[in-house]
């Protein structure tokens, strides 16, 4: 029993990590944007499973609610709305990116190794939040403990983030409005031009009529 108990989490981790990596590769390699979006959704869901294995149920569920359930729905919605079928070949313009990719990849690899090598891998003691006699606020990754941390220790960064989001909302609103105003002006201009042309045409026709009459 003990042997199995030790192996199951490792096997599960390997399975989830494998799926995540395959889906992430698929995300980059697919030409069709909707397949890429779907791969990203798979990656996000598997990441949620990995969070769950690290006994962070709240983050796992939020990962699905926010990213897979809301943001990606918007992505897919836009892809469907614009009906983008295949990625147009813009390879020529982005050729220099190929040369930037290799050092970036190496830097990332170095970072991963540094994390594995130097960061203390000792996980904090994990208690099941449903176990008897455990205060949910004390066990890691529950709603209570995250809320406690968020509204006591990290209240300033939290509020700053909300201000940032508010700024983003106001900014997008401003952009949308400005475009609309310009549109209205353009339409009004076009209408005015058309009207004056019509008037001109009307006048000339009147003139010609008068001439005919004369």
């Amino acid at each position: 029993m003990d042997q199995i108990a030790l192996d199951i989490p490792k096997l599960m981790f390997l399975a989830f990590a494998g799926i995540a990596v395959v889906a992430a590769f698929n995300l980059i390699l697919q030409r069709n944007p909707i397949y890429s979006a779907l791969s990203l959704i798979v990656t996000l869901c598997v990441m949620a499973a990995l969070f769950l294995m690290l006994s962070a149920p709240f983050i796992a569920v939020i990962q699905i609610v926010v990213y897979a359930g809301a943001i990606m729905v918007l992505f897919v919605f836009v892809i469907m709305l614009l009906n983008i079928r295949e990625e147009e070949s813009k390879v020529d313009r982005q050729k220099y990116l190929k040369w930037a990719a290799a050092p970036m990849f190496l830097a990332l690899l170095a970072q991963v190794f540094a994390v594995i090598r130097y960061v203390d891998a000792q996980a904090p003691p994990i208690q099941s939040p449903n176990a008897p006699g455990v205060n949910p606020a004390d066990s890691l990754g529950t709603v209570e403990s995250i809320a406690n941390a968020m509204f006591t220790t990290y209240v300033l960064p939290f509020e700053a983030t909300s201000v940032l989001i508010l700024m983003a909302i106001v900014g997008s609103q401003l952009l949308a409005r400005r475009e609309k105003k310009e549109d209205i002006e353009r339409i009004e201009e076009a209408l005015a031009v058309e009207q004056s042309e019509q008037e001109l045409a009307h006048r000339t026709s009147e003139k010609s009529n008068e001439e005919v009459a004369a």
Binding site: I8, I34, I41, V73, M80, I126, Q127, P136, T142, V143
Partner: protein, 347 residues
């Protein structure tokens, strides 16, 4: 990690598997029963008979339909994206069934022969969020069905559905926040237990959440794409909406099943959060009554769905959007503020 894994014993595993099997069968059978009730009730409302030939009172009609689904030729349209067309029903049905494991049917009851049994598969710290997460994943089934069919009606249905679900999910989740504040937990079982006062009648709908309940109910109907919010499959405009290209094969059956299980989930959530779950008079004395109360409450919501379908006309699309964003969302926010103030003074 090891501490969690080691605490699993074989009896717990066996018990969970049996419970999952039972809940799965309930999930599979509920659309069948529900469909029969719906067709007979609609017929009553519309002054006709409804299916009454197959079996007594037409009870076996749904079974006959199921058999027909299984044996009909499975046609994939030539222009459709085969891969997504096949994937969509699966994507729709899996999250729908994944939610069933947190349905709290009843309290822990001392059964003869078996001993103490919890009438739910599992409960966890973030149960409510888990339900919301799974329902939000379910929309992909509809979107993919609409896009993968490669037909204008399906695409429009899929687009409408995603816009609608994004809009109404907000007010749906926000409507639950007030009750969450009062219960002080996201665990569905704990939320139910928090409503056990007043001889089992201290439900959140009475305790300061009537507004939240109404907002939730309206959003839930929109979220499950039912009349009067059934724009994704409005037959007068879009033939069948996102499932136009699904001939009556098993794929259609899966989409159908996902829709009904989602309706069940939404009803369970309404029961658990606002109507006290299994709570009711004399549940403390006779715990088995809890199961009956739970069933009655869910049946009420399921009946409400049918009732609305029989009585109300469909919204226009812009009305739907305006209603979601300009009425329900502000009301839900107001409800949160009210609940927070009440929470400050009462709890």
């Amino acid at each position: 990690m090891s501490s969690i894994i080691e605490s699993i014993d074989i009896y717990f595993l066996l018990e969970s598997l049996i419970k999952i099997a039972i809940v799965f069968v309930i999930g599979l059978l509920s659309p069948v029963g529900m469909n029969w009730v719906e067709r007979r009730t609609l017929a009553l409302i519309q002054n006709r008979l409804g299916p009454n030939r197959v079996g007594p009172f037409g009870l076996l009609q749904s079974l006959a339909d199921g058999i027909k689904f299984a044996f009909k030729e499975d046609i994939i349209p030539l222009a459709a994206n085969r891969w997504l067309y096949t994937l969509a029903p699966i994507v729709a049905v899996i999250p729908a069934f994944m939610v069933t494991i947190v349905y709290p049917f009843g309290p822990e009851i001392d059964l003869p022969f078996i001993g103490k049994t919890k009438f739910y598969v599992t409960n966890f710290n973030v149960g409510l969020l888990y339900v919301l997460a799974m329902t939000s994943l379910g929309v992909y089934g509809i979107i993919l069905a609409g896009w993968g069919s490669n037909s204008k009606y399906s695409l429009l249905g899929g687009l409408r559905s995603s816009a609608q679900v994004i809009s109404y999910e907000l007010s749906l989740s926000l409507a639950l926040v007030g009750a969450m504040l009062q219960a002080g937990s996201l665990d569905l079982v704990k939320i139910v237990e928090s409503q056990s006062g007043w001889g089992g009648m201290q439900w959140h709908i009475f305790m300061f959440q009537p507004l939240g309940f109404i907002i939730y109910l309206i959003s839930a109907i929109a979220e499950t794409n039912r009349i009067p919010f059934d724009l994704p499959e409005a037959e007068t405009e879009l033939v069948g909406g996102f499932h136009t290209e699904y001939s009556s094969s098993l794929k259609f059956a899966m989409l159908f099943m996902a829709e009904y299980v989602n309706m069940l989930t939404v009803s369970v959530l309404a029961t658990v959060i606002f109507l006290g779950g299994w709570n009711g008079p004399f549940v403390k004395e006779i715990p088995l009554l809890g199961l009956l109360y739970f069933f009655i409450k869910i049946s009420f919501f399921m009946f409400l769905y049918i009732w609305l379908r029989g009585t109300l006309p469909r919204f226009r699309y812009d009305q739907l959007m305006n209603f979601g964003w300009k009425v329900l969302l502000p009301l839900a926010l107001v409800n949160i503020v009210i609940s927070a103030v009440i929470g400050l003074f009462v709890y």
